[in-house]
């Protein structure tokens, strides 16, 4: 038990949770309107799209890859789904299926390129991001879609929780289950920790990569759908640049850019931390131009904390043997 407690104290998540609570306490005192349920729901709903994207990116990062194209995939599949819904009306089940399907297909393209070209994922996904966004704007001539079906614009809530928050929770829960409780998740951790070992142990590395990038794409598709639902329109340029917010939240949540490390809990805390900061600062009347610098500083602090805690030799393992 003591062992478990000390490892909890060492963990990135625990430190992050303390910081989140401290900041929440600070804003509760300093920012009027912060500690209300309405504000809290608002805050979560505003970050739901980001959270769904983050679930996909987290899986990619743990596997040792990176997906810069997630926001672009979200934008493209969002537009495709909207076109389908406008044409055939459809329903939620169809919309979710289409969104995840388009996204997964676009994401799988990344995996195939990475595999075929043996190129670094960061380069491949920057290329596909640029390509997807550019083609989207070019083919749509930048025209937004407004005439979405009526059923799609009705605000739904599940047990009092707005749909975007419920979706984000479901997606994050499913991701946590996949990572921790399914063999596939263990293989993903293994691949990120030591790709050569994974290959030697008989993992189907190509198949794993198709899954990982396909999963990230599917999450992006769902995120795009939720974003369209929230704003009741589909603008081709709406999601440009969001990939960096996602990356910031996931890295802040303790996922390693070198692979093999990351948790859903940490990612959630990363998202909540950034959301609270922006929300609280807004309520306090701080200029929104400063948010970017706050985010940047936080990421640097988080990296510093991680490297300090890893620089210390961890004596626990030495007793073994």
């Amino acid at each position: 038990m003591r062992e478990r407690l000390t490892s909890l104290g060492r963990s990135h998540e625990a430190r992050l949770a303390v910081i989140v609570l401290a900041i929440a306490a600070f804003f509760a005192v300093e920012a009027p309107g912060f500690p209300t349920l309405a504000n809290l729901m608002d805050l979560l709903e505003g970050r739901a799209v980001l959270a769904i994207l983050a679930a996909g990116l987290l899986v990619v990062l743990i596997a040792g890859g990176i997906d810069i194209s997630c926001a672009a995939v979200a934008a493209v599949s969002q537009y495709l789904v909207a076109l389908c819904l406008i044409r055939w009306t459809g329903n939620w089940a169809l919309a979710l299926l289409l969104a995840a399907g388009f996204g997964a297909a676009l994401g799988a393209v990344n995996a195939l390129l990475i595999h075929a070209l043996k190129a670094p994922p960061v380069i491949v996904t920057i290329a596909t991001m640029t390509f997807y966004f550019s083609m989207l704007i070019f083919l749509t001539k930048g025209v937004s879609l407004y005439d979405l079906p009526d059923w799609f614009t009705v605000k739904v809530s599940i047990l009092g929780v707005p749909l975007p928050v419920a979706m984000a929770a479901a997606v994050l829960g499913a991701t946590a289950f996949l990572l921790r409780r399914v063999s596939l998740g263990r293989q993903i951790f293994g691949l990120g920790g030591n790709p050569e070992a994974a290959r030697r142990m008989g993992c189907n590395v190509a198949g794993l990569q198709v899954f990982i990038y396909g999963f990230s794409g599917a999450m992006a598709g769902l995120a795009g759908l939720v974003q369209a639902y929230r704003v009741e329109e589909v603008a081709p340029s709406a999601l440009i640049g969001r990939e960096l917010d996602v990356l910031a939240a996931v890295v802040l949540g303790g996922a390693s850019l070198t692979g093999g490390r990351g948790t859903v809990g940490g990612t959630v805390l990363g998202i909540v931390l950034l959301a609270m900061l922006h929300n609280g600062l807004t309520l306090m009347g701080v200029s929104s131009y400063l948010f970017g610098s706050v985010t940047g500083l936080l990421i640097l602090l988080s990296l510093a904390a991680t490297s300090v805690s890893q620089g210390r030799p961890q004596k626990g393992g030495r007793h073994a043997g």
Binding site: E3, S183, L184, M201, N204, G317, R318, A320
Partner: protein, 495 residues
Amino acid sequence: MVRPLVEMLAIRRRFGGVRALSGVNLTVLPGEVHCLAGENGCGKSTLIKILSGVLAPDSGRIVLNGAEHARLTPAASQAAGVQIIYQDLSLFPNLTVEENIAFRRHVGRAGRLVRVGAMRSEAQAAMARLGVSLRLGALVRDLPIASRQLVAICRTLAADARLVVMDEPTASLTHQEADALLATIRGLRAHGIATVFVSHRLDDMMRVGDRVTVLRDGANAGTFAMGDLDRGRLGELISGRRLADAVKQPLSGSAPPALEVRSLSRGGEYEGINLAVRPGEILGLIGRLGSGRTELALTLFGMNRPEAGEILVRGRSVALDSNRAAIREGIGYVPEDRLSLGLVMPQSIAENTLVTVLGRLCGRLGLIDPQRRAETVARWMERLQVKTATAERPVMELSGGNQQRVVLAKWLATEPRVLILDSPTAGIDVGARAGLYRTMDELAALGLAILLISDEVEEVRHQAHRILVMLGGRIAGEYSPSGITDEQLREVIRA
């Protein structure tokens, strides 16, 4: 006659125009410890890869447990109970001990749920069979290398290994850790699990092996019962030549020392060290890990300051407060851990060789003169016989022996007067060793003073003119190589 576990007969394999294996036989019996010995490039790894099913032979027969495999796949090899532990161990540093041991459960069954209890009992069962105890929840990256090796062995047991192939398992271990590993291998034998032990270390092979197959230039030099060989004979079989058995005599004359140390002490590391090494002399400093030998070497190279005492270079007292100061005084140091201390692995041989002498290669304008650069590199590559097509290859692509020579080249390029060699032959093969010894003798003949630090008795006794024994941070005695036998020296350092 027991049925062999593995029979590989007349295995041939070419890579392009190069013949890697020309008709090699290997027979492993159930439960035996079978050593596979040979110099770098003799075909050991190729043979192992063929046994693992990763590589197909051009011709030859492979019979596992009596069943002939026309085309052996990795899956078939593993199904027959063959498990390979590569030198890098191929563990997952970010996963726990139990997850690593039971990782195979997750492969090929992507949709299956993780059963923590089953995983744990599988890991525990494997550890119990091996008689080791590791904390199941510890992350592998937090474990010392020796424990990681145990995890790798447990993993093969969890996969129902009948034969564990270990590639250079003791190369990265200290002597105590290697002892423990050899005991573990004997434990596997007691469970009826065979081991193929691939190694450069003659002593380790002598101690653990039942039989040994020696490969030379892609062909069998023979398979022998270990009891029929002695160390010297095994070395000869591997290298194909007779190793010098002569020992050196202490130098005569009274030339002043190139490097002298008086009452040097550093708390907890070494105390009251007196030694002197003269130009042209190889002074052997023998001591086990933890005797303070490496700490002393680091001080002599300016890496950590002594707390008391004096260091004299050519009779003049000097303060070596940095390695740059040591280099200025003409002291070169080839570290024990050549991989982490001596080389910039991704950079080329040339870059690594020249890093110590960049200043001297500058022409006008302070730019590096390409011709002088090329000449310097070529001179040392030739002198040290580094086998490479081009000096622009990254050092990490070289074999261990060649890497060691590049480290040596790097220091010789500074044209030092004193060279400190810390365990220079750790992890390199017999032939490369002989080459290094020859180089060492040549350098001494040129007037270099060499301090040879090692824990290998034969090496020190055959290479040095004089021997100092270091025990618990102190110099415990001085010997002339002809005045003591290998066995006596071994006893002294174990005291």
